[in-house]
C-alpha cells in the first residue's frame, strides 16, 4: 500500500499535469506554470526551513541570481538549456559559499543575514548597469514559437524542475540526510554528539534549497521575457514559499506541494474579488494561518485520515 503513496500517487498527478498541458488554454497554462514554480520554491525552502529548521529568507536571492545568470548567459548566446543548468550550478555554488559563512548563525541572526543577502544582491544588480541593465531591466530574446507552444514549453520546463525537486525531496526526507536534518532541527547540540556532521548537513540543505530555485528563476526569466532587480529579488519571493510550506505542513514531503497549490488558488480567488485590498487579505490569511493552523493542511488532514483508518 505504501507503494501507492510514494510512487503511484505522484505519477498519477504527473500524468494529469501532462494531460492538462494539452487541454488547458494559455491562461490556465500560465497559472499552472506559476503553481509549479511556487512548488519548486516551496519544496526548496523546505530543505533548509522545514527539515533543518533554519529560517532562511534567501529564496529571493537564489531566484534573482538564477534569473539574472540565465538571462545574461542567454543574451550572450549560450543555448537556453545550458544557461538554465548554469543558473542551477551558479546558485548552488553561491549557496555553498554563503552557507559556510552564515549557517553558524542561529534564529533571528540567520534570518536577517539571509534576508539582507537578497537585498544586497538586488542593490548590486541595480548598480551594475553594464552587465545587468540596472534599473532598466533586462530583455531576453523572444522565442520564435507559436504562442500556445511557448506556453506549453515553459510549462514543461517548469514541470521538469518541479518534478526533480519533488523526487529529490522524497529521497532526502526518507534518507540519512533528512534524518540528520530533522535531528538538527530539534536539537543541534545533541545531533552533533550523536555524530551528525551538522555543519556539512546544513550547508548541504542550504545548497539543495538553492539548486532548483536558480533554474526556476532562469526559466521564469525566459518565460516572461523581461526581468528587473526589484522583481527578481522581491522579498515576497522569500516569504511566499514560507507561507506555502506552513500552509501545507513543514518538513513533510507533500506539504509544500499542497501548500503551493492552495496558495495559488487563494491568490487567484482573493484577487478576483478585491482589487486594491488583496495584500491586506493575504496578510489576514497569514495571520489566521499562523495562529490557528500552524501544523499545516497535511498534518490536519493526515490526522483525520489516520483516525479513520485506525478504527478496525
Amino acid at each position: 500500500m505504501r507503494r501507492f503513496d510514494t510512487i503511484l500517487g505522484p505519477l498519477v498527478v504527473l500524468a494529469l499535469l501532462i494531460g492538462f498541458a494539452f487541454v488547458g488554454d494559455n491562461y490556465f497554462l500560465r497559472l499552472a506554470t506559476f503553481m509549479l514554480m511556487y512548488a519548486v520554491l516551496a519544496l526548496s525552502w523546505n530543505f533548509i526551513g522545514g527539515m533543518a529548521g533554519y529560517p532562511s529568507f534567501a529564496t529571493a536571492a537564489f531566484f534573482g541570481l538564477g534569473a539574472y545568470c540565465g538571462a545574461i548567459l542567454q543574451k550572450a548566446g549560450v543555448p537556453m538549456f545550458l544557461s538554465w543548468a548554469a543558473a542551477g550550478l551558479f546558485t548552488g555554488v553561491f549557496a555553498m559559499l554563503l552557507g559556510r559563512a552564515i549557517l553558524h548563525l542561529k534564529g533571528h541572526y540567520f534570518a536577517i543575514a539571509s534576508l539582507i543577502v537578497a537585498e544586497a544582491l538586488r542593490e548590486v544588480v541595480n548598480t551594475w548597469t553594464e552587465l545587468t541593465g540596472g534599473g532598466m531591466g533586462l530583455n531576453l530574446p523572444v522565442l520564435q514559437m507559436d504562442v500556445t507552444d511557448q506556453a506549453r514549453f515553459f510549462f514543461f520546463a517548469m514541470l521538469v524542475v518541479a518534478a526533480s525537486t519533488f523526487v529529490l525531496s522524497a529521497v532526502v526526507i526518507r534518507g540519512k540526510l533528512g534524518f540528520g536534518l530533522s535531528c538538527i532541527k530539534q536539537n543541534e547540540d545533541a545531533a552533533n554528539i550523536l555524530g551528525v556532521d551538522a555543519t556539512r548537513y546544513k550547508v548541504f540543505a542550504f545548497v539543495l534549497s538553492a539548486v532548483f530555485v536558480g533554474p526556476a528563476g532562469a526559466i521564469y526569466a525566459g518565460w516572461v521575457n523581461y526581468i528587473e532587480p526589484a522583481d527578481a529579488f522581491d522579498v515576497l519571493l522569500s516569504v511566499k514559499p514560507i507561507v506555502m510550506v506552513i500552509l501545507g505542513g513543514a518538513g513533510t514531503l507533500y506539504g509544500p506541494v499542497v501548500g503551493a497549490f492552495a496558495f495559488l488558488i487563494l491568490e487567484e480567488v482573493v484577487w478576483r474579488n478585491v482589487l486594491t485590498f488583496h495584500s491586506g487579505l493575504l496578510g489576514l490569511l497569514i495571520v489566521l494561518l499562523v495562529l490557528f493552523m500552524p501544523q499545516g493542511l497535511i498534518r490536519v488532514t493526515a490526522r483525520r485520515l489516520f483516525r479513520r483508518t485506525a478504527a478496525p
Binding site: 541595480n126 540596472g134 531591466g137 523581461y226
Partner: protein, 411 residues
Amino acid sequence: MEDYRVEHRMGLKTRRIVQAALICAVASVGMSAGAVAADKTLKFGAPLPLTGPLSPEGLKQKEGYDLWAEQVNKAGGIKVGGDSYKIEVVYADYQSNTPRAVQLAEKLITADKVNFLFSPFGSGATKAASAVSEKYGIPTIAATASSKAVYDQGYKYLFGTFTPNSTLTTPLTKLVKEKLPAVKRVAILARNDLFPLAIANVMDGSAKGSGLEVVAFEKYAIGTLDHASTLTKLRATKPDWVFATGYTNDLILIREQMRNAGLKVPVVTMIAGPAYKEYAESLGKQAENVTSAAWWHPAVRYSGEDVFGSTEKYNALFEAKYNKVPDYVQASASASGVILQLAIQKAGSVDPKKVRDALAALDAKTFYGPVKFGSDGQITSLDPPVFQIQGGKPVVILPADIKQADLKPVS
C-alpha cells in the same frame, strides 16, 4: 484574475446576470425589429499597478481611463458602421510587479477576451508587456512610456502617447541658455531607476549639446532617506543649475534638503514632481520657481475632434468628476482611450488588424494635442510644455504660443 469594472457597485454575478438578461432582451427586440443595431460591448484591458510603490501612478491612469469610458458611454458609445459599442475597461492590478503585469496582460487577452489593451505604467513594464500584445496581435496604447527602447523593438501593435525624453530637456535647456546666460554649470542628481535615470541621461546630453558644463552627475539608490551629504558634495562643485529626477517623495526631500544644505542656485529643475499638485502642496514656498517639463499640462489649449472636444472641456469634466486638476498621467490615459476610439471609428471596424492600420495612419486633433505616430509607433506630433511653479501653481513657460509667464530665476 483581478476583475474590476467601471461600474463595480453591483456584484459581479448579479451584474453578469443582468447583463445577460439585457443582452437577451435587446437581442430579441433587435430580432423582432429586424435591422435595428444591437448594443454591443468593446472591452479594453488595463493592467495597472493599483497597489505597491507605483500605486499613485496606477490610480491616476485609472482615473483617466474611467473618465474617458464614462464620457463615451454617456455619448452613446463608439459607433462603427451601423453598430454602437458600449465601452468596458477591464482592470487588473499587477501590484507594481512587472512580470505580473506581463502575466495579467496575457490573462486579459486570453481569459477576458479584451479587444484592445492599455499598457502598464512606465517604460519598463510597457516594454515587457508589449511582447504579449504583439504575440496576440492586440492594438495597444502606451500612456506612460517614453523611452525609445520601448518603440525600437520593431513591434507593429504598440503605440505611445509620450514623445522621447529628450523633447522634455532640450527646449528647457535652450530657454535657460537664452534667458539666463550666466548659467553655465549643471549638476544632475538622479534616482537610479528606469525613468528618472533615462531623463537624467538625456539631460546630460542636452546640457552638453548646448555648451553647458555638467559638473556633477550623481545617482542615488531607491529608498534613499537622506540626501544631505550628496547635496553638500554638489554644493562644492558650485553649480548654477540643479537638475534632479525621481519620484515625488524623493524630489520633495531633495528640495527641502537643498535649502538645508545651503545649495542656492538660479535654476532648479525637477522631473516629474512639480507636475503633480502634491509637490507644491508639500513644499510650500520651497516649490517656488522650480521648473519642470511634462508631456502635457492642464494649461495647454487644444481643440479636438474627440469626445472631450477641447483641453478646457477636459479639465472641466475632470474637475467635476474628481474635484482636482488633471496632470499629464491622467490626461495621457484619457488620450489613449480617445486615440483608440478615433482609430476604431476611422477604421470603421473593430478588427484588430484594421484598427492597427488606422492607428498607424492616424492624424487627428485631440484635447491632448495633435496625434500622429512615427513608424516606430511613438507619437511625433506633440510639443511637450515646460512649466514653472509660480505663486504656488504651475504656469507654462514653453512652447511660446501657449506660455502663461516667463522663466524666472529661483533666487
